[in-house]
Symmetry: C2
């Protein structure tokens, strides 16, 4: 490249996931069309995010404070915890505006292939939370991958010692807009098994 500055920025951007050298170059060209102030606003927000972000010490969700706004919200149902893999899942569920309980972010799923063991996930934190009492139901909202199923099985085993705790899982079925033709057999099997009478 004829410019070391360009070479550096392309090199740095292409370290990001899903961004190859060609995309990095396109992004660099876009940066030149942006106002210098907009670019520095962007880099400042990245730096601040990386330096100042915290993990809620109750639910492990991303937070600006020690305790996230969801855990701190007295209006929410503190007797229900929805267990999810990652922060993005909290956002997806929150977007529905249908769930009023709390969350617990595991921070991944058990994956021997990727070297992620139960101790790498925030499972002990979850068990401590439940042990302190007041939790009536935990909803498992884990993906149906092999790793997800392993994690589900592991969690069920650890959770069954809490007497009277209701353990539920989000329903598996055909999504809205999915065409049956393209849905996998396992999902169809589950959807048939969990069929409901039309009222």
């Amino acid at each position: 490249m004829t410019s070391k500055l360009l070479q550096d920025v392309v090199g740095e951007l292409s370290k990001l996931p899903g961004i190859g050298r060609r995309t990095a170059l396109r992004l660099a060209m876009h940066l030149l069309r942006m106002e210098p102030e907009s670019v520095s606003d962007m880099t400042r927000s990245i730096d601040r995010f990386r330096t100042d972000i915290k993990y809620c010490r109750l639910c492990n969700n991303l937070s600006d404070e020690e305790i996230c706004p969801i855990c701190a919200d007295r209006e929410r149902d503190h007797s229900t915890i929805c267990i999810v893999e990652q922060v993005a899942d909290v956002l997806s569920i929150e977007n529905t505006r249908q769930y009023k309980g709390l969350y617990h972010v595991l921070g991944g799923v058990i994956s021997p292939m990727q070297g992620i063991s139960p101790s790498d996930l925030k499972i002990d934190l979850l068990l401590d939370r439940i042990a302190q009492g007041g939790i009536r139901e935990v909803i498992l909202a884990i993906s149906t991958s092999v790793e997800g199923e392993t994690t589900l099985f592991y969690l069920m085993n650890r959770l069954k010692r809490f007497e009277g705790l209701k353990i539920t899982s989000i329903a598996r079925g055909i999504g809205f807009g999915d065409e049956l033709e393209y849905v996998d057999e396992l999902t169809i099997t589950q959807a048939l098994r969990n069929r409901r009478e039309i009222e």
Copy 2:
């Protein structure tokens, strides 16, 4: 979102082309897995690039100096100029290591639809360069889009006043690895017309 820091970084990243909110969120999560120093290296390279980059005052290529390393290279053939749309095109041609002349980066193509007129491109700079003498050939390496053809036609018109200047265009044909079945008719027509005897 439960974190303003996260909301800010996702908002800023999703302003970039080809990056939606979902991708921005995935990138933000990746930033958390990176070392803080790697993140600040990246943001610093972006800031420096935006602030310090220059355009070569001869060929309009990106450069760290007033004159880019290609224009400054006395070993190269200063009598030939290859005219390209954008910086990425220079990199593509340089990667072949086959071309030893100079470049001229137009900075786009004429596009009435996008409000890009000839005066928005570095055409006058090019004509000044040629007017100063010493240029024997200009190679037009412009894309074959409608806008590209318009630009080509416009350039031909402006260049014909230079007597004795050889004007060439890169060859149109079937690319290596392209399957004839999927190549458009215009390209096949050109490829047939420009057929060469096998020696």
